[in-house]
Assembly symmetry: C2
Homo-oligomer: 182 residues x 2
Amino acid sequence: MNVRTICLAILYDGEATGYEIRKLSVEGEYSYFIDASYGSIYPALARLETDGLVTSRVEVQDGKPAKKIYSITAAGRSVFIQSLFEKLGQDEFRSEFLLFLRFATELPQSLVEQRLSERLAEVDAELADFDRLKQQHSHPGDAWVIDYGRTCMQASRNYIEAHRGELIAMARPDTGEAAAAE
Amino acid sequence: MNVRTICLAILYDGEATGYEIRKLSVEGEYSYFIDASYGSIYPALARLETDGLVTSRVEVQDGKPAKKIYSITAAGRSVFIQSLFEKLGQDEFRSEFLLFLRFATELPQSLVEQRLSERLAEVDAELADFDRLKQQHSHPGDAWVIDYGRTCMQASRNYIEAHRGELIAMARPDTGEAAAAE
DNA sequence: CACCCCATGTAAGGCGTTACATGATTAT
DNA sequence: ATAATCATGTAACGCCTTACATGGGGTG
């Protein structure tokens, strides 16, 4: 799943600028698929236009920079849907947090405790975010995926809360030293 | 979280060759942190050795190619643990499967049904894998992380099974055409 | 007979990030 | 005043993947 595909997916439901696509991919509903930066989005859109999968028009604005609004073409829709027929790539999951927890036995108790609390707060923020997203979107596919994400996130939270004590117990008791840098 | 760090993490618990590290990162317990290929592991180990964080010795074998066995040094241990004190990177999650489901309304019912069944089978295989991993590992950090993974995976499975009907209902009813390629 | 496992490594190329360049407007 | 938001784009660089190179031994 590359930036190109995500651009087509976003444009499938309506026009957007590169700037908006980045926002959606970082903060919006698409953040559960990818996190794309300008440096990848703008070149991807340019190439999609060359390939005839999207078109653009420039809209001059008052007091703001001009926008380049992209729309998907019939060819673009077809290519995108066709790509969904192909064999799906593997889901990817990477967690520095879990690597950290795996080594709880080598780390000071206070640090482990702190990171667990931070994570719970992050998860709560994400859960609230799911609720916010859900209210905005009536598209049924969106709703399903958002509920799925929320459910998994909630399961993760429940597990962490129920079993955090075990991690703290296996960590190294704090000796006088301050639990280092940020 | 890069290949370098994963190599140190694996070597933290004992010696290994580049070949073994790749296996662990793809099939073993570390597959939940990264999926690394030879092309990244061998150069990473070479650089770690130059930097004095690991050492190696060659073991000649009968009927098999010679092995290059890497061990972590005291400096390596220290650098690795120190890296865990630093601010943690964001967890990453990417799912082509969810992107596919988001567009269920645009896809034939039979295809959606097929992909859901495939996924349930994959999840079951992964759950079995978690159980297998759990029996092998007595390291408490490992056990915690494996249980965490298993719990989240089970929650995902439950949700898919309970709500698959909604996706199938929103998909396009099959017209005569065969539900395309693989 | 073909293919997979063991085992190490290199080279080319893809895909993405970060930082840079630019600049007006609006909120704190 | 200072920073954030809007808005587009390029250039350098990093990190990893894929494919190649090599080759004996075991399995279907």
